[in-house]
Amino acid sequence: MSADLTTINDLYEKINSDPHELDDPNVAHLVIDHNKVLGQHLVPGLHMEVDELEDGIKAVMRLDDNTVLEKQVHLCFGMYPEKGVQRIVMDVTIGKNARISLLSHCVFPYAIDVQHIMHGQIRIGENSEYSYFERHVHSPKGGVKVYPNAKIEIGKGATFKTEFELIRGRVGLIDIDYEATCHAESILEMNTRISGKADDVIKVKEIGHLVGEHAKGVLTSKIAVRESARAEVYNELTASAAYARGHVDCSEIVQDNGIVSAIPIVKVEHPKAHITHEAAIGSVDNKQLETLMSRGLSEDDAVELIISGLLSRKKK
């Protein structure tokens, strides 16, 4: 077995996935360890040019007009060394009337002092659909600093859905910065689920501009902090066109000495637009806690179960 294949297998083991999924010729994939391309496979209509940089990679991805990928595209970004910087530059263009779903794993299992920096530029063509699920698996040592930022342009009638999950291992520091512009009849969904503990620091900044008529946007953040972890959540949704509709939903659980601040900004600049906001921040609900304790769970196990539910992936 080649060293690259061994590394791919190790990475997939860390994310509880089967590397043989990549054997399917209809499944496109890109596997990166630090700045090295370990594996790449494309399918008709999907183009990807990858350059290895000194500290990461630059990938230019393009999906042709009218191309519908039935199978999820797998991306895996790993960093095995304990220390170092991984910079990922992604330039994505989705043509018109196309559809793609990406499953991305970022795995830093041994990190003591690792920075993972992701710059994304994403353009989604008219009536296309782009969904991106990003799961992070970090070391238990808290030595990862993650800086994902992306600028997204969602064309007329297009859909952009992104989901960020970091509930395994320590967060370390995460600083998310996403900003999307939504044109007429487009749909934006941003969903973030993160669990922090010890001295983890979580910063989430998600901004949506509903600039086209009938554009819709939903920003959802679910954060749990325990011990001395801190979280700052900034969600901003503005509607400047008729019939634009939006909703901001923050649910944050704070335990022990954790601190959460949530700043929701909802701005309506057109009399026929409408945005709502809902937030709940606090410790675990006492009735939930006592319900589970009355079934025999310890307080700690009950809290764990409640938080795992809150942060679980919502069924579609």
């Binding site: 939930q288 006592e290 079934r295 025999g296 809150l310 679980s312």
Partner: protein, 247 residues
């Protein structure tokens, strides 16, 4: 002697006497009903037996199988297999019905979890992976609560208003579930306003103004609903709606 004995229980909340030197024995493996008007202290009694926060500072004692459980936390009482089904059960965002029931189940297999759902009238395949959240109706949530109690196989199950929010067609399934509990030797304590629920019990206690004013076989206590309120020095006059049109 009962399996669960409440002895001289007095509890004040916000300076007001809610339970007043209350004594009850619940018999092992029997189905009991505690009936009475709003404000009589029925749900407070349930919360105090379970040891919920806010209901721990009381006079008297609660004895389970000869052992005082007064100082035990909620989960320690649950580990002795005493449990409570809430009148309005909590909702848990994102937590699946499977994981909710599994957390308390004695047999944690998926088959057993599905079976308990079927026992309360819910399709196991359909409901297993649904969340215990606001997408469930009040009646569905009550059934899931009862299913988790069945899966726990408790020694004492306190069911607070087990029929509230349950549609007419489903009430019989709830009563069947009570029979399942009894068949497994569980001591059942139902807190209720309902004649239909009272009729499922073997023994009943009429509670008023924080104390027991009458007790006995169910037929004896049924008069409370069918005829008149038992004369007592209570301050809570049952409203007509709560007594089937009679005060």
């Amino acid at each position: 002697m009962g399996v669960l004995e409440v002895k001289g229980l007095s509890l004040n909340l916000d300076g007001k006497s809610i339970l007043n030197r209350l004594n009850i024995d619940f018999w092992e493996g029997h189905v009991h009903a505690v009936v009475g008007p709003n404000g009589a202290g029925k749900s407070t009694l349930a919360s105090t037996i379970m040891g919920l926060s806010g209901y721990r500072d009381f006079e008297g004692d609660i004895i389970f199988k000869g052992e005082s459980i007064k100082e035990l936390d909620v989960n320690e009482r649950a580990k002795r297999r005493i449990t409570l089904a809430w009148q309005e059960p909590a909702r848990f965002e994102g937590l699946t019905i499977r994981d909710f029931i599994r957390s308390s189940a004695k047999d944690k297999s998926v088959d057993n979890i599905k079976n308990t759902l079927e026992e309360v009238g819910l399709d196991g395949d359909e409901y297993l992976m649904r969340a215990v959240d606001k997408t469930l109706s009040g009646g569905e949530r009550k059934k899931v609560e009862l299913a988790s109690i069945l899966a726990m196989e408790p020694e004492v199950a306190i069911l607070d208003e087990p029929d509230s929010g349950i549609d007419i067609e489903s009430i019989e399934r709830i009563f069947e579930a009570v029979k399942v509990l009894k068949s497994k030797g569980t001591t059942v304590i139902m807190i209720t306003h309902s004649l239909a629920v009272l009729n499922q019990a073997e023994h009943a206690f009429l509670m008023c103004n924080g104390t027991i004013v009458d007790k006995g076989v169910t037929d004896k206590i049924r008069n409370y609903f069918e005829d008149k309120c038992i004369p007592c020095p209570h301050k809570n006059i049952p409203r007509a709606a709560e007594t089937g049109g009679r005060a």
